[in-house]
């Protein structure tokens, strides 16, 4: 899977995805048959209340979890039956993650937190450049403890994009931030999507954020309840919540 280069059409194609968590006596159906596609350069927001299955879907797309039924293809390659090693490689070379709680390594500086990924990637960008892109060129030698929440999240974004992934998966990236800081983070994500053309999936339960997307997928109860295309992407600067 290391030599996937096709980024023209659908980056992801999911067909009939179901996910059942076997919890002993009861089974929880987190996803009940999802069909979706993600195209190159697209910014998609997955919107839904908690428990709607959006994180499960993102985890499956990101190779952190596997579907109970259905197929997921990434650039034409099937992820469904991938081995542990293949999934690791997939995450290593092709996907960028941004988490709600940043998940930076506290013992590494901002620069090193990016370098920790570029050291193992195939054709990464320079860590300094990645940090410059998120507006942290002057904070490269700071440790996470010396950065604000918003700055930490921007380091996390720099870390996610430094490997030049085909797709960026963001799970509630503003969830732990106040709105003005959140908007700065969203601006960075939008800039990355626009400048690098990285297909981006952004999970949120905040409907206002949906307005910055090309496409909004509404999830509820493990199903896609509605899909909407925004004619005009709003700039994060114009969002309010």
């Amino acid at each position: 899977m290391n030599n996937i280069t096709d980024t023209t059409s659908a980056v992801f194609q999911a067909r009939g995805i179901t996910k059942v968590y076997d919890m002993g006596e009861v089974s929880v159906h987190a996803l009940r048959g999802i069909d979706m596609e993600l195209h190159s350069g697209e910014l998609v927001v997955l919107l839904g209340p908690s428990g709607s299955g959006k994180s499960t879907l993102l985890n499956i797309l990101g190779g952190l979890d596997t579907a109970t039924e259905g197929t997921v293809t990434y650039c034409g390659k099937d992820l469904t039956g991938a081995s542990e090693q293949e999934l690791t490689d997939y995450r290593r070379y092709h996907v960028g993650f941004v988490f709600q709680f940043y998940n930076l390594i506290p013992s590494l500086t901002a620069l090193e937190n990016v370098a920790v990924v570029t050291e193992i990637a195939q054709t990464p960008m320079n860590p300094e450049d990645a940090l410059a892109m998120v507006g942290l060129a002057d904070r490269v030698n700071h440790f996470p403890a010396q950065l604000s929440g918003g700055e930490q999240q921007r380091v996390a974004i720099a870390r996610a994009i430094a490997k030049k992934p085909a797709v960026l998966l963001c799970d509630e990236p503003t969830g732990a931030l106040d709105s003005s800081t959140g908007i700065i983070v969203l601006e960075v994500l939008e800039k990355i999507n626009r400048d690098l053309g990285t297909a981006t999936v952004l999970i949120t339960h905040n409907a206002d954020i949906a307005e910055m997307a090309d496409r909004v997928i509404h999830l509820s109860n493990g199903l896609i309840s509605r899909e909407q295309r925004n004619e005009l992407r709003k700039s994060p600067r114009d969002l309010h919540w």
Partner: protein
């Protein structure tokens, strides 16, 4: 059961691996403690009971010959309780199918009535019939080593005459728990036997009718033993008394006491070290365990639980673990103690065993472990409780890190990010890292403690029997004899070399200190029996003056140049003043040496000798033995090979078995420490590692970060452990000095290697177990939760 208590049980179940490791550490510490103390106490209790029930005498003396009527005069000595006079004769024993020379002593027992003192415990058969002239009871140790039973016949040579005796019983005596041939350093149950026969018959055979040559007595409560010893000595002097002595100088008792003292020292030291290490670890582990429960503490407080409630809750958790360890430790320790006591009972040939585990011992073991656990708990709980709940529940701010000194010194360039993480993680909490290192170092050190004695014992034997006592056999005569005996023995076929020695029983005095031993007169240019100094260089005896082993020097508090009083305990019993010409180094025994001619001169006895050292051609040995057996004046033949064997047997059964078990327990402690360090590191860092996994790191790569840290700490701990181990071993050798032997502090490379290997093996096993957990990290969960 309320909800919180149920929570404790579930918490415990979730951390069962770790809890088990902690419990095992406690159990090992407590087991060592219980085992050592209870074994020791039981042995002493058994000994005391045996002594009491079988009326072991308190004062003894041998003499040439005294009329039975003297007994009334002895009885008149104030404080004397029971008296028993006896006839004791040396003898040569012929055992069919056993070629080595065997000697022994025959003790009389009353024909009428029972023995008053030193009573026999019959194992098999019966006592001798009154006035029977060929019945004999023999000691169990000797009987067992030659497979002799009641009904068997045995030939002995008494007073030059061969007699066939019928064994009617096998017995134990409190007087002969240890049976040592004259001149031997260690008991030899095969070549030395003790027997008992009727007084009348023995008196006739040994020309002692109406007379005795041995007396023993007990004293009434509160009597002054040394006073009685002196008076008895005065009384017996005209009858050829060989110096009365109290129980503390009685051979079997002295040997036993020294062994017990050694065991007691170990029984005191090992548990202190082990329990100390276990307590230290418990403290470290528990405080770290609680520090990762910070959010739970906060939640409980947010719900309105007081600091005290929270404290009690977590204390219960800790106590449950400690309790599990205690139960395991106490029952394991009691079991081991009983097992070991049984081994000792067999070894020392006590007729019965009184195993006893005193509640106070259990209580102190419990107290130490609980206290250690609670100190660790209180400290960490206080830290957690000081935090306002709201702050504790918020995601913990990222820990503050900085570049380590190592990196600033330029190492940074060569370290990749994962390695930097290792270095910084260690550097961020230096105290914590130091505690981990100390813990592992202690584990390494106790492994050395368990192991080093073997090296030391080997070294001791090499020096004693390889460099110093090089004769193949030492032959001791019944009485001092003329030098002619040497030529007689040298003329035997197969004898290569012979040197003579004189051994004079004496009490050495310096100031208020005294010690009963023998002054050995040896030839100063001798090649077989040599004296060595600390550097193993040969010391030649000066023409005048006495030379003491360093240990004896310490006992008496003398230095070179001091003047020593030598009270000779045989012949005309002169009291001599002899200058101390020097001290020599000797690991085994407590002796004083003089140049043979100078000793003879002081004794005014011409060229008398007590025995001969021989080196022989090993092929000719059976021939030599058969000749020796026909020489009536030989009291004992000590063979070097057998002496070494006996030494190892004694050591093997007593000290080494003790250290073996302790090594095993130390191994468990070592594993517990390393495993817990790894597990705690895992729980502290699983989130970080899972994040890296999400970012595409392989299992191997994240394992490197966690296990790399463990490896660094373990490798740093091993040299520290070596140093601590050396100190502990030094402490032990200093405290294990007894009259029997002094273990030198010898630490071979193999001991270091062994300790390091055990620690590394523990680290590898722990790493393997942690690695399995790393492979199953829940990647999804970790991203959804804050710390």
């Amino acid at each position: 059961m309320n909800v919180l208590d149920r929570k404790i049980l579930r918490n415990l179940w979730r951390m069962k691996g770790q809890a088990a490791a902690i419990a095992l550490v406690i159990a090992s510490g407590v087991a060592t403690f219980i085992m050592s103390i209870s074994t020791m106490q039981s042995l002493k209790l058994t000994q005391a009971t045996f002594y009491r029930d079988y009326h072991f005498a308190e004062v003894f003396s041998s003499l040439k010959r005294a009329p039975e009527s003297l007994k009334t005069r002895i009885q008149e000595i104030p404080g004397v309780n029971r008296i028993e006079t006896r006839v004791v004769t040396p003898l040569n024993i012929e055992v069919k199918g056993f070629s080595d020379p065997v000697t022994g002593h025959l003790y009389s027992i009353p024909d009428r009535g029972k023995s008053l003192l030193n009573k026999l415990y019959l194992r098999q058969g019966r006592l001798v019939q009154p006035f029977s002239d060929d019945e004999v009871v023999i000691g169990e140790a000797f009987a067992e080593s030659h497979d002799l039973h009641p009904g068997d016949e045995i030939s002995v040579v008494i007073n030059g005459r061969l007699r066939e005796l019928l064994i009617v019983g096998i017995a134990l005596s409190p007087e002969h728990i240890y049976q040592m041939p004259p001149g031997a350093l260690f008991p030899d149950f095969e070549r030395y036997g003790v027997m008992w026969m009727g007084r009348k018959t023995l008196g006739t055979v040994y020309d002692m009718e109406g007379a005795f040559n041995n007396v023993s007595l007990t004293v009434s409560a509160g009597a002054n033993i040394s006073d009685i010893v002196d008076r008895l000595d005065d009384l017996l002097r005209p009858y050829g008394g060989l110096g009365a002595y109290g129980r503390k100088d009685q051979l079997s008792h002295r040997y036993l006491s020294e062994e017990f003292r050694q065991l007691e020292q170990m029984a005191a030291m090992f548990p202190v070290i082990f329990l100390g290490v276990a307590a230290f670890l418990l403290n470290v582990v528990i405080s770290r365990l609680l520090s990762i429960q910070r959010d739970e503490i906060a939640v409980l407080k947010a719900f309105g639980y007081s600091n005290l409630d929270v404290g009690i809750h977590f204390t219960k958790l800790v106590l449950l673990i400690v309790l599990a360890g205690l139960i395991l430790g106490v029952s394991g320790g009691a079991w081991l103690g009983q097992w070991m006591s049984t081994i000792y009972k067999e070894f020392y040939r006590f007729p019965f065993l009184r195993y006893e585990l005193q509640p106070a011992v259990v209580a102190s073991g419990a107290f130490i472990s609980i206290a250690a656990a609670l100190i660790g708990t209180v400290y960490s709980l206080r830290k957690a409780a000081l935090l306002p709940p709201a702050q504790a529940m918020r995601p913990e701010p990222p820990a503050t890190y900085k570049e380590t000194l190592l990196e600033r010194l330029g190492l940074k360039k060569i370290l990749r990010q994962p390695s930097r993480m290792i270095v910084r993680h260690i550097g961020r909490r230096p105290v914590k890292s130091l505690l981990t290192v100390t813990g592992i170092a202690f584990a390494c050190a106790i492994m050395m403690v368990g192991r080093f004695q073997e090296d030391s014992v080997d070294y001791m034997v090499d020096v004693q029997f390889g460099l110093s006592q090089r004769e193949d056999m030492a032959i001791t005569f019944i009485e001092p004899t003329s030098r002619r005996a040497l030529y007689e023995l040298k003329s035997l076929e197969g004898v290569q070399r012979g040197e003579v020695f004189r051994s004079v029983p004496a009490r050495l005095r310096f100031g208020h200190r005294s010690y009963r031993t023998a002054v050995q007169g040896i030839e100063s240019e001798g090649d077989l029996h040599r004296l060595l100094n600390e550097d193993l260089k040969i010391v030649h005896l000066p023409a005048a003056g006495i030379v003491l082993t360093d240990h004896l020097g310490e006992i008496l508090g003398v230095r070179e140049g001091d003047e020593l009083t030598v009270e000779v305990l045989e012949g005309r019993r002169p009291v001599l003043r002899v200058p101390v010409a020097g001290l020599i180094s000797q690991y085994i025994g407590v002796s004083a040496y003089m140049e043979l001619a100078s000793l003879n001169r002081l004794m005014r006895e011409g060229s008398a000798i007590s025995g001969v050292y021989l080196s022989t051609d090993s092929d000719q040995r059976p021939l030599i033995f058969s000749k020796l057996k026909r020489m009536p004046r030989i009291a004992g033949t000590e063979l070097r090979e057998k002496a070494i064997e006996n030494f190892y047997d004694t050591m093997g059964e007593t000290i080494l078995i003790f250290t073996f078990i302790n090594t095993l327990l130390a191994g468990i402690i070592a594993f517990g420490v390393v495993y817990n360090s790894a597990r705690i590191a895992l729980s502290e860092r699983s989130r970080e590692l899972a994040s890296l996994r999400v970012l595409g790191f392989t299992r191997g790569e994240i394992s490197y970060i966690l296990l790399g840290e463990l490896a660094v700490l373990t490798l740093a701990a091993i040299p520290v452990g070596f140093i601590i181990g050396q100190a502990m071993c030094f402490y032990i050798t200093e405290n294990l000095k007894t009259d029997l032997f002094r273990i030198p502090l010898i630490l071979e490379g193999s001991t270091y290697a062994f300790a390091a290997t055990v620690v590394l093996a523990a680290a590898c096993i722990s790493a393997f177990m942690v690695r399995r957990r790393l492979d199953n990290l829940d990647l999804v969960a970790v991203l959804k939760t804050k710390e």
